[in-house]
Amino acid sequence: MEQPLTQHIPKDGGWLHLKDYEKVGGYQGLRKALKMTPKEVINLVKDAGLRGRGGAGFSTGLKWSLVPSPDQVPGPRYLVANGDEMEPGTFKDRLLLEGNPHQLIEGMIIGAYAIQAEFSYIFLRWGYQNAEKAILQAIQEAYEAGYLGKNILGSGFSHELSMHTSVGRYMCGEETALINALEGKRANPRAKPPFPVVSGFFGKPTVVNNIETLSNVPHILDKGVSWYKSLSKCEDGGTKLYGVSGKVKRPGLWELPLGTSFREILEEYAGGMRDGYQFKGALPGGGSTDFITAEHLDVAMDYNSVAKVGSRMGTGTIIVLDDRTCVVGMVLNLEHFFAQESCGWCTPCREGLPWTERLLQAIEEGQGRMEDLKIFDDLTRYMAPGHTFCALAPGAMEPLQSALKYFRADFERHIHEHRCPWK
């Protein structure tokens, strides 16, 4: 099984320095890209079927093609690598940032060339100190080797790359909020349209891509479309980093073909449930995805298949709920997070999430009423997609709504017994 993104990451916890990265084919993709036209690069990435690994699964090549060309809109344009990774239960970009920074940098230079951007930024979350050190050194190495700076590899294309380390807020991961944070402001999102591909960093066209997304790009350029498609088990291309946390035998992270089944990830890679614990459900891709349950174990973990069973693949990092953990408590924990991290710009989110949290708290403490469950339905409607400036609020309601759908009896037991039956 091929694991192009992770197979060369040193097992001792260190990172792949430039010399070793070049030995395993590093910067070959960039060399090829610089011999193509920007449009050819975009089309290649589009044909490869690379979809954004940041959660929404938007076609990467398509996103790049939406940036107006320098003839249409002259002036600077920017590429930003989104390494905020603060979605609860998500720990995938960390490995790529800590272990293979050149792969990211190469992907960024190729992306920048495709949209003709002269500047790019890595936006790194706080608390990834090893990644921060590795990236700063890798940027230095890339400048010294002529992969960054003026007239890269004699192509005439010039590019400058730098890093910003965040001071922590989940909102910074939302692409327009991230741009505000890069401009030194509060990380409130911006109203869309205009989308950042047209008006982003200081009002200039800006592409924001996830770390894992950009780390795929060098391999597509180096090895081509049909190889890239052959990596996956579904209609979209490539591998995917899948993670599992919760009461399983071997929590962890693995690079597997896109479309590997949920059951295989849970049972073969994570080793199944710990002794004495039963599988009850899971959030397939971070805290803001809908629960799936035992009846969905055989779902393929790709964008379209997970959507078909009513959830989202999101970040592909699975959070497992076991039978000895209270689902009301789990959802309360999630809504506390979302209420706290809400930026407060739109009323339904600012008011609705703390209300949701308080109602859940009451139910968990045995003070809930059956009417409360109906209020959750209303709140979900107030915070539905389109009613808020960003996807935080609708995302926050996904675990709650699906918990009510699959585990309603657990909520009702709390209400009728006036206590948490799991305590």
């Binding site: 720990f91 608390g127 922590g168 807020r169 599992v244 924990n333 997070f337």
Partner: protein, 161 residues
């Protein structure tokens, strides 16, 4: 009235901040970097520091404060010698965060957001640290501690005098 006798921003720090905004079309773009720099030297950002940064960046102190208070890791109150940031997000919660948090509160005799009387520890809950496969987890200063159990806590704390 508070008459600041000693400035918080040294000439070197101001030079560093100027270096930061040189790359941007507007000075205020260095606001977050400026706050980070202040905190690196002083561990927290005081009202006086906010006023001084406002002068350098040609912003009002309130504008600076609206940025400072937005971010989880900019401290607007003094903190202890060591800052404990314990992850309270979902995977850590499933894996026993509450027990660890309760033990820490009892052992240190403080609630979340407080500092011990001897100024040694500040205890703050924080969201996901991106290490959910090794939950529960916490930072003490720059050190990440993972796979925590209550039994280990005493020994870990002893390493931070």
């Amino acid at each position: 009235m508070d008459t600041p006798t000693q400035r918080i921003l040294t000439d070197e720090m101001i030079a560093e901040i100027r270096e930061m905004y040189k790359h941007f079309p507007v000075k205020r773009a260095a606001c977050i970097e400026g706050l980070k720099l202040i905190q690196k030297h002083h561990k927290w950002v005081s009202d006086q520091a906010v006023r001084e940064l406002a002068e350098v960046l040609e912003m009002s102190p309130d504008e600076i404060d609206s940025v400072a208070t937005f971010y989880n890791l900019i401290f607007r109150k003094p903190v202890g010698r060591h800052v404990i940031l314990i992850c309270d997000s979902v995977s850590c919660w499933i894996m026993g965060y509450a027990e660890i948090a309760d033990y820490l509160k009892k052992k240190l005799g403080i609630q979340f957001g407080e500092t011990t009387a001897d100024g040694r520890f500040t205890l703050i809950p924080i969201c996901c640290l991106g290490t959910c496969d090794r939950a529960p987890a916490m930072f003490i200063d720059e050190d990440l501690h993972r796979d925590l159990t209550v039994e280990q806590i005493d020994a870990i704390l002893e390493r931070y005098p």
